[in-house]
């Protein structure tokens, strides 16, 4: 047991360090101990003892409380590290067991050192700080779909099951007491036993989480047991309070009305708690709509409001756990959509950290609390009976309820599920805290109850916790796979939902899917509109899911790869090799890519087409601004309030994206035939030219005449697309523009029109064909283009602007990079000037205006002549699709010309 020696190490350290400080714990007599410890240390440590100025002062009393807390947290954390040293050990023994054992050892040390137990799991501390962190985490990250799918079963077990357990245990204990099995020393009547039954019967969320997380049973089983443990809080709270009041007034004085009051109280506590939680969820979601400028404190809002939901429920003595759980479940969808990716990560990690450490502390303190002579009032009869009863009644309750539930459930709960559910009824710290809270004056048998609770908790957590894993294995309970859904699963499962809802409607059943469908309509029409940022509201969940999956994949590719920053070579993707891929989509994809990302610079050059000198300086600036800088030129930057995306980050991201793109391409190309890829590259290159030309033209058109309505020319459609994608990007990423310009939403209206498109037309083709697409407001694309906003004041160094524009939000970058994985790679503009190519295109299409003279390009960026030729030949090979586009182009060009004349 190497592990234990390791565990003892910090213990010894701690006990050595704590010998004196331990006396100062919150429960001890700080004054006396402080004086002693101060003496000790001043004798040994400070040389200037006795009067005068002391160079070193011992300020224990000043730091005492936070210091002890910090030390405890440290001990708990170190214990976790040590525990996980031994891989074999962790697979067998659940962490909670080890933590309790550690707590026992620590408690023994404290006891030996002080002759008196100083620490125990303080109910106040537990209910106000430790429990909320765990419940908050659980609620916020609750898989809501799974939860609501099984809500019926969860509620049944939580309400009926807990009541059943409580009453049966209480009555039977009273029965065996009358029968004389329990010693007479235990002075308790029916009410006391019912009270005890109420607090011991509730399955404990902390224990369930701790044990079940390691067992990895399938999700359904987990959610049912865990959901039950959360939702039974209301029952426990009410029963506990009712019985305490009954005990206070004495069983004889309880009137019939009091029972009804108890029932009413249950409704108020449970529904009230849920309501408080939902109200806070709405408030929280609403607040996060407006945190765009204060991203840095976004996570704080979440913690605060979720915690406030808990406290508010406590304030009104409602079910705080219910409140917090529903606050978390309710807000999750909206909050996650509203906040930035970084905030999401922060929230996730902080919550998990807090919950993990709270859990650790709870178990350690449970262990410590047990080592206390004053607590132990052992009665074998009571303990044995309690253990037997809670186990038997749990099993009976589960079997009986499951029998009823299975009549209604689509997926019946199998026998092995029932076994696991019965066995997984773990009791934990909630019961302990409740029993400690009992008033010893009122409840004479408190000490016996405390001891019994401790034994029950230890038995369920340690014995059942230890054995549940082998049991699950032995019973071959289906395990969870812990697998993220693929995009196919996302799509098809969504389709399944629609199908089921429709079938229920056809079959005339107002079933679950029917109501969920209704709810989703309501959510979409009202709730989401209220609680989601406009930019987010207009995004599809499917798209979000797609992006998430892409990010995950990309990360996993990187994880496997390493060597990220090597090749910055531009390789054109094989996407176009897909014959079914319509050309237009490719073009728009290009535009999107170019327009939204690196191609900023092209635009900048274009807005100053006049003087060659200007262009030269412009080019210089562009290059200076956009060339990747060597590492040492970065400036370090610190701001407490803003986490800017610095040049470095941007650069790394861009390079990273490009590499990713290449990799995925090469990855793909191993899958697809080689020759296909080659051909596609040429094709792609040709299209690249086209897209750039289009971009060039359109950008020139727009500033000169905002009234320009190309009607249904593809160019504008393309433009619109570009604008929209740009808008998506800009909107979320640039904090300021959104409000100032007020652009984005106008554009949305414009793009809503495709609704009318006939369903028979394939979506991709519509881009160029559908005449029903209304002309977008000409300002939409334009205003959204980040570089347009600053035409007048465009700083010489474009990249400065670009760094602001490009997302704070890393996900955005990913969107861009990843979606381009699928489409075609955009050229790294800063390094590859477009002009040679553009002029080549001009030559091809014969635009009415002479092309702008290619700007002087530093040697290292000049295209090798051979390459350009090759590209031209590639172009000519692609004459056919190219010709198709020509009408558009010439139209565009003439428009341009006309507009320029008119202005």
């Amino acid at each position: 047991m190497l592990c234990f020696t390791w565990l003892l190490l910090p213990l010894l350290l701690l006990s050595a360090a704590r010998q004196a400080p331990a006396d100062l714990s919150a429960t001890g007599q700080p004054g006396h101990a402080l004086a002693r410890s101060a003496e000790d240390h001043e004798d040994g440590g400070a040389s200037h003892h006795g009067g005068g100025y002391k160079i070193v002062q011992w300020e224990w009393s000043y730091v005492q409380t936070p210091y002890i807390i910090a030390i405890w947290l440290l001990v708990a954390s170190v214990a976790k590290i040590l525990f996980h040293f031994s891989q074999r050990f962790t697979t067998v023994v659940p962490e909670s067991c080890v933590l309790i054992l550690l707590g026992l050892v620590l408690g023994a040390v404290v006891l030996i050192a002080n002759k008196k137990q100083l620490y125990q799991l303080d109910p106040g501390l537990f209910f106000l700080f430790l429990l909320p962190t765990i419940v908050g985490d659980a609620g916020y990250f609750m898989p809501s779909r799974l939860f609501f799918d099984n809500l019926g079963a969860i509620l049944m077990y939580a309400v009926v099951g807990t009541l059943w357990n409580a009453f049966c245990t209480g009555f039977c204990l009273y029965g065996v007491k009358l029968a004389g099995v329990i010693d007479d020393k235990v002075q308790a009547g029916l009410m006391e036993f019912l009270l005890f039954g109420a607090l011991i019967s509730a399955v404990d969320p902390v224990a369930v989480l701790a044990v079940f997380e390691e067992v990895h049973v399938n999700e359904m089983l987990f959610i049912i047991v865990f959901g039950e443990s959360l939702l039974n809080d209301a029952v426990t709270v009410v029963l506990y309070k009712v019985y305490i009041s009954f005990v206070e007034v004495g069983p004889g004085n309880v009137q019939t009305a009091d029972y009804f009051k108890g029932v009413a109280s249950f409704l108020v506590v449970s529904i009230g708690g849920t309501m408080v939680g939902l109200i806070f969820a709405v408030i929280l979601a609403f607040i996060t709509r407006f945190t765009k400028k204060v991203r840095i404190i976004e996570p704080l809002f979440i913690f605060l409001l979720v915690y406030l939901a808990y406290l508010t429920a406590e304030l009104f003595s409602l079910s705080a756990i219910l409140s917090m759980t529903f606050c978390g479940i309710g807000c999750n969808k909206y909050v996650e959509a509203n906040i930035s990716q970084k905030s999401r990560t922060t929230v996730k990690y902080t919550m998990k950290t807090l919950a993990s450490i709270a859990e650790t502390i709870i178990f350690i303190f449970l262990g410590i609390s047990a080592v206390d002579k004053s607590k132990w009032a052992w009665d074998t009869g009571l303990i044995a009976c309690t253990l037997i009863f809670i186990f038997v009644f749990r099993a009976m309750g589960v079997v009986g309820q499951t029998w009823i539930l299975n009549k209604f459930r689509l997926v019946p709960l199998e026998k092995i599920d029932q076994v696991v559910m019965s066995y997984g009824g773990l009791r934990g710290a909630v019961a302990f805290a409740l029993v400690v809270l009992l008033d010893g004056e009122q409840v004479k048998a408190k000490d016996y109850f405390v001891a019994t609770t401790i034994v029950v908790v230890f038995f369920t957590v340690m014995f059942q916790g230890l054995t549940i894993k082998p049991l699950v294995k032995w019973l071959k309970v289906p395990r969870s796979t812990n697998r993220k859904p693929t995009i196919n699963e996302e799509i098809h499962e969504r389709a399944f939902d629609h199908i089921l809802a429709a079938i229920e409607d056809i079959a005339g059943l107002n079933g679950y899917h029917h109501w969920r469908d209704k709810w989703e309509q309501f959510d979409k029409n009202y709730l989401s509109k209220l609680l989601l940022r406009k930019s987010v509201y207009h995004k599809s969940e499917l798209w979000e899911a797609y992006q998430k999956i892409n990010i995950r994949d990309a990360i996993s590719v990187i994880d496997q790869g390493g060597n990220i920053l090597t090749s910055a070579r531009l390789s054109l993707p094989s996407m176009a090799s897909r014959t079914s891929f319509p050309e237009v989509t490719n073009v728009t994809n290009y535009l999107r890519e170019n327009g939204s990302g690196v191609c900023l610079d092209l635009q900048v050059i274009d807005t100053n087409p006049g003087a060659k000198v200007e262009e030269e300086t412009e080019t210089h600036h562009v290059l200076a601004g956009n060339l990747y800088k060597p590492r040492r030129r970065y400036q370090s930057h610190y701001s407490r309030h803003f986490m800017t995306v610095g040049d470095q980050e941007r650069q790394e991201r861009e390079v990273f994206q490009r590499n990713m793109r290449n990799r995925l391409e090469s990855f793909k190309s191993t899958h697809y035939k080689r020759h296909k890829k080659d051909r596609s590259q040429k094709k792609a290159r040709a299209q690249l030219h086209l897209s750039q030309l289009l971009l060039l033209l359109t950008s020139r058109v727009k500033p000169t005449n905002t009234q320009l309505r190309l009607g249904m020319t593809q160019a504008e459609l393309v433009l619109k697309r570009e604008g929209c994608s740009e808008e998506n990007k800009g909107e979320r990423s640039e904090p300021d523009k959104d409000e100032d310009v007020g652009i984005t939403f106008v554009a949305r209206k414009g793009s809503e029109t495709p609704k009318e498109r006939p369903k028979s037309v394939p979506a991709a083709l519509e881009v160029c064909q559908s005449p029903s697409v209304a002309p977008p407001s000409p300002t939409c694309g334009e205003k959204n283009l980040p570089w347009k906003g600053g035409i007048g004041t465009l700083p010489p160094c474009v990249s400065v602007e670009a760094t602001k524009i490009i997302p704070i939000d890393l996900q955005q970058a990913w969107n861009q990079s990843i979606s381009s994985l699928e489409s075609l790679a955009s050229p790294p503009v800063p390094q590859e000037p477009q002009h040679p190519r553009v002029s080549a295109l001009y030559r091809l299409s014969g635009p009415p205006r002479p092309p702008p003279p290619p700007p002087p390009v530093p040697g290292q960026f000049q295209f090798p002549g051979g390459k350009e030729e090759e590209e031209e030949s590639a172009l000519s090979q692609q004459q056919e699709p190219w010709l198709k586009k020509q009408p558009i182009l010439s139209q565009l060009c003439t428009e341009t010309k006309r507009n320029q004349h008119s202005t």
Binding site: A502, A507, L509, H513, N589, E752, A764, E822
Partner: protein, 195 residues
């Protein structure tokens, strides 16, 4: 009304339907009364218009596709038998059916048939392949108008790429099954019909 409706249903029909679909007697009569109430033409068969009158289907993104799934190819009427046959796809798989010997033929609510139903919703031209265009159409139905065609296109590409094993840029039925093999289709494509 239920009694009148069920009286129109002959006992031997019920038996046959029971055999074919696995629905219980009461389920069949219940669904028959539903069928009857949907049948505004009172001709013992449902037309597309009858289905389209169901208000919820109008807001179901896949509503029209699902309606179409009720109609055999080339027909625009569906009788009660056909109606039940389609609904039977969504009957949950019961315990005693799991161990039934395979020689008895595949029941309508088998995993494969459930998947096939979903697959047919995509596969408009019935060539047993979901092409990119077909997928895009369904995706377009399922997402809002706010997602651009490029975004949708990339989703479709990604979807196909993920599922496509033989490189034909289409999702065949076997690929469809493969890609959903980890999904609990039996559960996710079943609804609880009242007993």
């Amino acid at each position: 009304m239920g009694s009148r409706a069920s009286s129109l249903l002959r006992e031997e029909d019920i038996e046959e339907i029971k055999k074919e679909t696995g629905f219980s007697h009461s389920q069949i009569t219940r669904l028959y009364s539903r069928f009857h109430s949907l049948d505004k033409g009172e001709n013992g068969a449902l037309s597309r218009e009858d289905f389209q009158r169901i208000p919820e289907l109008a807001i179901n993104p896949l509503g029209d596709r699902i309606i179409n799934a009720f109609f055999p190819e080339g027909e625009d009427q569906v009788n009660f038998r056909g109606f039940m046959r389609t609904l039977a796809h969504f009957r949950p798989v019961e315990d005693n059916e799991k161990n039934k010997d395979p020689s008895a033929g595949e029941p309508l609510n088998s995993r494969n048939n459930k998947l096939l139903f979903a697959f047919r919703l995509y596969d408009l031209d019935r060539d047993d392949k979901i092409s990119r265009d077909e997928l895009l159409q369904v995706l377009r139905m399922m997402v809002g108008v706010n997602i651009s065609d490029e975004q949708l296109g990339s989703i479709a590409d990604r979807t196909i790429q993920e599922a496509d094993t033989n490189g034909d840029m289409c999702i065949s039925f076997s690929e469809f099954i493969k890609v959903l093999e980890k999904v609990d289709v039996e559960q996710k494509m079943s609804i609880r019909f009242l007993h």
